[in-house]
């Protein structure tokens, strides 16, 4: 085999490196073939684990199939969809989910952005502070749910113990209708505010310094600088973080399962928790599939509307 010959470039004195085919490469495998060979395992996995089950669930959603009762699946048209959309139980869970999503994501956005803004103004210990704030996000939701369950216990929990030490009475955090939902929002906020903070911090770091310098020369106030420079530049990035969090919050299951089991009664049952009950208590697989598909559709439609708004914002 001969030595590689340096290729000439337009610039004298510069030598471009030449990439020759690997010595043992089969001539029959084209670049396209290689690409297919490398991507097909992942594609097959995706088809088997995501696309096929999704299509299968779509098919089941039009049937009366039950995974445990067996027997053939009878086609019942849009029966499952009609039952879900007209059910008062579903409307109640949808309202609970909506309150939860707005409450949790709203609180997380305000807190996350505030913390990011304060951290971005520090010159010392920024890295350490950021790392510390990120810890809750790295924990499993089940672990978070369990230790908050202990902390919020009305009799033995540390939260009520602290309230007691300052002369306040016991609060039934997880067993009263209003406080149970608030507790869920607080715990979710504790865990996921760092996510918003992280993205906001990235946005704040990307704001060009010269804009602030120019504003300083014009003797602009702190509030004016925040309102006209910081917020407009960070806003689009923040909205993407809100989108991710809203989708996640819409699917909330684990915290509800651990903290309240949907109680008291069904007052903290979210849509996902309800789907779980339909699927695994009643084993009404067809109905549960339709319920799941409807939830996916709601997320897709709302995300599309949101992305359009984001695009408009960018164009503006």
């Amino acid at each position: 085999m001969s030595d590689p010959v340096p290729l000439k470039t337009d610039h004298p004195g510069q030598v471009a490196s030449a990439t020759l085919p690997a010595p043992g490469r089969s001539r029959r495998l084209s670049d396209r073939g290689l690409a297919v060979a490398f991507t097909s395992p992942a594609l097959l996995l995706l088809l088997a684990m995501s696309v096929f089950p999704l299509l299968w669930a779509l098919y089941l959603s039009f049937t009366d199939y039950s995974a445990t009762r067996g027997g053939p699946a009878h086609f019942i048209g849009f029966g499952n969809y009609t039952a879900i959309l007209t059910s008062a139980q579903v409307h109640q869970r949808a309202l609970t989910t909506l309150i939860y999503v707005f409450g949790a994501v709203g609180l997380q956005t305000v807190l996350g952005f505030t913390i990011a803004y304060l951290i971005s103004r520090r010159t010392h210990g920024r890295g350490l502070l950021t790392t510390l704030f990120l810890v809750p996000m790295m924990l499993s939701p089940v672990v978070v749910g369990l230790f908050w369950r202990f902390m919020l216990d009305a009799q033995f929990g540390v939260v009520n113990s602290m309230l007691g030490s300052v002369g306040l009475g016991q609060v039934e955090w997880l067993t009263r209708q209003r406080t149970a939902l608030i507790s869920l929002i607080v715990v979710d906020t504790w865990q996921w505010t760092p996510f918003i903070m992280l993205i906001a911090l990235a946005g704040l770091s990307a704001v060009p310094k010269y804009l602030y310098e120019a504003a300083s020369i014009d003797r602009a106030s702190e509030w004016f600088r925040f309102r006209t420079i910081t917020l407009p530049l960070v806003w689009p990035l923040l909205l993407i973080a809100v989108l991710f969090r809203a989708i996640e919050a819409f699917r909330l299951f684990d915290l509800v399962y651990i903290l309240t089991s949907g109680g008291p009664g069904v007052s903290t049952e979210t849509l996902s928790f309800h789907v779980y009950k339909v699927a695994f208590l009643g084993f009404n697989t067809g109905t549960a599939s339709a319920y799941g598909i409807l939830m996916v559709l709601v997320v897709i439609v709302l995300t599309q509307l949101y992305l359009r708004y984001l695009n408009k914002l960018k164009e503006g």
């Binding site: 009762r69 053939p72 009305a154 009799q155 209708q177 008291p264 084993f283 697989t285 599939s289």
Partner: protein
């Protein structure tokens, strides 16, 4: 998980031929057992009897079958039903013996998930050695009438662990003699709470998971003369919420709940035990099989020795009122229809061994609650725990819930509504009427064509 289960069901060689699936029959005699190393797997929820069973079976069964190892797989109580039935749905189980609550039998039988043991029991089990209702409760389907056994009905399981509620009371606070009627129990608890600041009058199951709050209501319902349903006509609405049912709900929410600790609206077995062990309750109700830990000085603030604890704690059968009914707890052993033939044979051999008179007494001595009458009346059992006499005395008083395929949905409706009433999210009467109406809807829709509903 649902998708995996449905896909597996769809792709499996199942018996989905459009006809109603019935449970396959177990052989009448035990097939030849393998001499190779064999692991017999159980599935149960995580509580002391599960660990006791594994230790007991590995110590004793190995003497008969040295090549067999017993593994009791456990899941959290709240996942117990799902863990078993999602595997049944996939027509493939990683357990050979499912330990089912009596109320799960209907669902498992109609789906063909467990073996019909009728012929096996006839040839291998001494049925006359049991209280007929205990044998029926843990194996018979369709469900037996309370207190009886239909000898023509099929059996799908055998008793593993008997259980019922015991009343746990503080002898040092209310005296040695336990209250005899439910009304007396409430007034004693009220007085005890008033006399002992920081100690609540009552502690009982109120959570909305598993069957916690439902069993509590059903117990009070039974004591006050109510009925859960008219099994013959499959009628709940108008039966559960009749006058007796309303009175029971009123007693539970308006008389008993105010005597419980603040925030106890999500308490189940462990929380009630913790309250008793920490001296925070005058009277408590819990399952006997879960009460052993109360006598452990390491877990209790009531004394540094078992004797000191027993000087303060008393165990008694439930007080009666209009009737003397108590809840039937405990579980039976059921052979998975999807287990291999060799493992099914081993499972049948284990069950035959376990139901022997001598083994039942050893099980009693190891901390289990047997079901054979001779074992229940044996000194091995009665001396093993201070609450064991309570169980023996309670056997003729037991009543079960509904053993129908729709059980999981029925109990969820009751749990959530009773929990709502106990925690002020619903008025007691509304909660009871909602239970009756929704449960009736589930029973009525089960025979209707369609998607099964929500």
């Amino acid at each position: 998980m649902l998708l995996v289960a449905t896909t597996a069901a769809a792709c499996g060689d199942g018996q989905d031929d459009g006809t109603k699936v019935s449970a396959p029959k177990a052989p009448a005699t035990i097939p030849e057992l393998t001499k190779d190393p064999q692991t017999l797997s159980f599935i149960w929820f995580d509580w002391p009897p599960a660990h006791a069973l594994e230790a007991f079976a590995n110590a004793e069964y190995k003497k008969e079958r040295p090549n067999a190892t017993i593994k009791v797989n456990t899941v959290p109580n709240a996942n117990w039903h799902d863990a078993m039935f999602t595997q049944f749905a996939a027509r493939k189980t990683d357990f050979d013996i499912a330990i089912l609550d009596s109320q799960h039998i209907g669902e498992a039988v109609t789906n063909g998930s467990i073996l019909d043991l009728t012929d096996f029991v006839k040839n291998n089990i001494e049925v006359s050695a049991y209280n007929p209702y205990l044998l029926a409760a843990y194996g018979q389907f369709p469900q037996a009438e309370t207190g009886k056994r239909d000898e023509n009905a099929s059996l799908y399981g055998l008793p593993l662990l008997g259980d019922t509620w015991t009343m746990i009371y503080r002898k040092d606070l209310i005296g040695d003699k336990p209250p005899q009627t439910w009304d007396e129990m409430i007034s004693v608890a009220e007085r005890c709470q008033a006399d002992n600041p920081g100690v609540s009058g009552l502690a009982f199951h109120q959570a909305n998971g598993s069957d916690a709050a439902a069993v509590t209501y059903n117990t009070v319902n039974g004591v006050y003369g109510g009925n859960l349903w008219d099994a013959k006509n499959r009628k709940i609405d108008g039966v559960l919420n009749d006058t007796a049912g309303q009175e029971a709900m009123d007693v539970l929410v308006n008389k008993m709940k105010p005597l419980t600790a603040k925030g106890s609206g999500n308490w189940f077995i462990d929380e009630v035990n913790a309250a008793v062990a920490q001296g925070k309750a005058c009277i408590a109700f819990n399952w006997i099989a879960a009460s052993g830990g109360l006598l452990d000085p390491k877990q209790s603030t009531l004394g540094t020795t078992r004797k000191q604890i027993l000087d303060k704690l008393g165990f008694a059968t439930l007080p009666s009122q209009k009737t003397n009914l108590v809840p039937l707890g405990g579980m039976g052993m059921h052979v998975s229809a999807y287990s291999s033939k060799a493992n099914q044979a081993e499972a049948l051999n284990f069950m035959k061994w376990f139901e022997r008179a001598d083994v039942q007494k050893k099980w009693a001595a190891a901390g289990g609650v047997p079901s054979r009458t001779d074992a229940l009346e044996s000194p091995e059992f009665l001396n093993a725990g201070p609450f064991n006499q309570v169980y023996t005395d309670s056997v003729p008083r037991m009543r079960d819930m509904w053993n129908v395929p729709e059980y999981a949905r029925l109990v969820n409706i009751e749990n959530t509504n009773v929990n709502a009433a106990l925690n002020g999210a619903k008025k007691p009467k509304d909660a009871l009427d909602d239970i009756a109406k929704e449960q009736q809807g589930v029973l009525d829709s089960s025979s209707r064509k369609g998607g099964g509903g929500l």
